[in-house]
């Protein structure tokens, strides 16, 4: 075993536990359990808010998969990844103050809570809760597999033992600490990602003999690697641009991001988070993907793109430093998993159970149910990750786009357009998710050369507006945003 690399990783996990315990104390002493457990008492400051946004977003998909793809595609993929700079400011500006004010007024704790109060419709709630449970649950399983693979490759333990270590550490502190624990550890993890990618990038540039020589080597190998069009010249401007929808502006509609937009303390924290978030997201995305591209001349011929990050780290740095830096992707995966886990359990407890099964459940009961369901969900994901079924992998590919297609208009138009109503919201969700699932079939795969998520979002907008207007006279009792 590679102890020099493992010890920093263990140290990191211990720090995380400490934070979970500390946050757990706050949950115990809080008199509003739901607000505290799922939203950290709406008290996040600017720095923590920015970091938790970044860490939640910069998940395994971008941290492990992104640099790997950049390694294969060259600078064109870095260009694509830079569309994510927009998430740093766009989400908070769009949901922004209005979402914060309205969700407080509604006493909403989850995104679905907001939709329920806004549209006063059982069907909107059930459809949303089901979308969240299915899509996020699948996204989560894939992250667990990624986390376990990382521990596996670093420690040389078997996949199952690695998965077990990963699962145990995640579950322990999510169940104890709730949202505050997740947000606080996100702040640590975001910082690790920030510094980690910078150190690694510098080390890679030095190992490659400077930027000019690396770019020279790339051009000599395949000039396409330094163009915006990818190694096979297959990345068209339309396709790359459509990622501005998928990983840029569409992110507004992801429940795990939206819930963070109701958790901050005051306008000042929001303003700070806007600035810090933009800088941190852009910085991490740029560095991380450049590492992938620059790794190519140094370590040519890596077949499995997911292993680019760990391999290059162990190649260009001493083992102990690699351990610290590799804590970063570990951090990214863990923080994504935690927040997804929390979201799925809040969907079950808050959105389904408290609304339609047992509205009068006692405080104590809700508390134990929340903690219990979070734990049970974790165990189910663990079991599924042991031998991942095909369906999960398929669903995970679709999870983020599916959620965006379902929620973007009900949330955004629900906030800013007073004529939007429940029929419009339901129509928009069904059209969005339906069309998006159809895109799995060849005909719809890349309409107009764009990513499959673009067309459903576009059509769902018209569904929302047209149906809302057409049914205007049937809707009398919905809550107006004052």
């Amino acid at each position: 075993m590679n102890w020099e690399a493992i010890i920093p990783l263990i140290g990191f996990l211990i720090i995380i536990f400490g934070v979970g315990m500390y946050a757990g104390k706050k949950v115990q002493s809080s008199n509003n359990f739901l607000d505290e457990y799922f939203l950290g008492g709406r008290s996040l400051g600017g720095f923590v808010l920015a970091m938790t946004m970044t860490a939640t977003y910069g998940s395994a998909s971008s941290f492990i998969g992104g640099p790997g793809t950049a390694y294969t595609q060259g600078l064109g993929w870095v260009l694509l990844a830079m569309s994510q700079v927009a998430t740093g400011y766009f989400v908070l500006m769009i949901l922004g103050k209005k979402f914060a004010i309205v969700t407080r007024k509604y006493k909403a704790v989850t995104m679905v809570d907001f939709l329920r109060k806004r549209y006063q419709s059982k069907w909107v709630v059930l459809f949303s809760a089901i979308s969240i449970i299915i899509f996020l649950f699948s996204a989560m399983a894939a992250q667990w597999i990624g986390g376990a693979r990382l521990i596996e490759s670093l420690t040389g333990l078997s996949y199952i033992s690695a998965l077990f270590i990963f699962a145990l550490s995640v579950l322990l502190y999510v169940t104890i600490g709730g949202f505050r624990a997740v947000a606080l550890t996100d702040a640590i993890q975001g910082t690790v990602m920030f510094i980690g990618t910078l150190i690694l990038l510098i080390a890679v540039i030095i190992a490659g003999g400077g930027i000019s020589s690396i770019i020279g080597d790339l051009t000599a190998e395949n000039p396409n690697l330094v163009t915006p069009f990818g190694s096979e010249a297959s990345l068209t401007p339309a396709y790359v641009s459509s990622f501005w929808i998928l990983v840029g502006v569409g992110v507004v509609a992801l429940p795990q991001i939206a819930v963070r937009s109701m958790s901050y303390k005051n306008s000042r924290s929001m303003h700070r988070a806007l600035i810090i978030g933009t800088i941190v997201v852009g910085f991490i995305m740029l560095n991380m993907h450049l590492i992938g591209v620059f790794a190519r001349p140094i370590l040519p011929g890596i077949d499995v793109p997911d292993t680019v990050m760990p391999l290059i780290a162990l190649e260009v740095m001493p083992a102990w430093l690699a351990g610290i830096v590799l804590a970063a992707p570990m951090a990214a995966i863990m923080s994504t998993v935690d927040s997804l886990l929390l979201l799925v359990s809040s969907s079950i407890v808050k959105d389904v159970y408290l609304n339609y099964v047992q509205p009068k459940a006692s405080h104590q009961r809700v508390k134990w149910l929340s903690i219990g369901i979070t734990a049970v969900l974790g165990i189910i994901v663990f079991l599924m990750s042991l031998n991942p079924p095909e369906l999960i992998i398929w669903l995970n590919l679709f999870a983020f786009g599916g959620l965006e297609a379902a929620f973007i208009w009900p949330v955004v138009m629900g906030l800013y357009w007073k004529h939007g109503n429940k029929y419009g919201a339901i129509a928009s969700m069904i059209v969005g998710v339906g069309l998006y699932i159809l895109s799995d079939f060849e005909v719809f795969a890349q309409p107009f050369g764009m990513h499959a998520v673009v067309l459903p979002i576009f059509v769902a907008f018209f569904a929302y507006v047209i149906v809302s207007l057409a049914t205007k006279k049937f809707v009398s009792n919905q809550m107006n945003l004052s």
């Binding site: 260009l79 500006m93 769009i94 000039p223 915006p228 641009s241």
Partner: protein, 92 residues
């Protein structure tokens, strides 16, 4: 009944967000495909990076970070989120 004054601020800030993202996109697209579409042999290099990449991704990011900082500091207004004093104001 008059509209909550905070929503006017919120609406304006959301529009600023949309404006920023459009600007960001145009900058990113124009430099990447405007300068990057020629033959790689004709690229010029800035700090070792191809010019299209440097201006689109590196400078583009710095410009956005500066712009967001400036706009938030200059135009974003601090408002209270809790509304005990707003009780009588529930309808439009």
């Amino acid at each position: 009944m008059q509209e909550d004054y905070r929503f006017k601020i919120a609406n304006r800030e959301a529009l600023i967000g949309v404006g920023l993202v459009i600007f960001n996109f145009i900058w990113w697209f124009a430099f990447a495909y405007g300068m990057g579409s020629k033959d790689p042999e004709e690229y010029t290099y800035v700090f070792g990076l191809p010019d299209w990449f440097f201006y689109s991704c590196v400078v583009g990011f710095v410009v956005m970070a500066v712009l967001v900082t400036f706009i938030v500091k200059k135009f974003f207004v601090e408002v209270p989120f809790d509304d005990e004093e707003e009780e009588g104001n529930e309808n439009k």
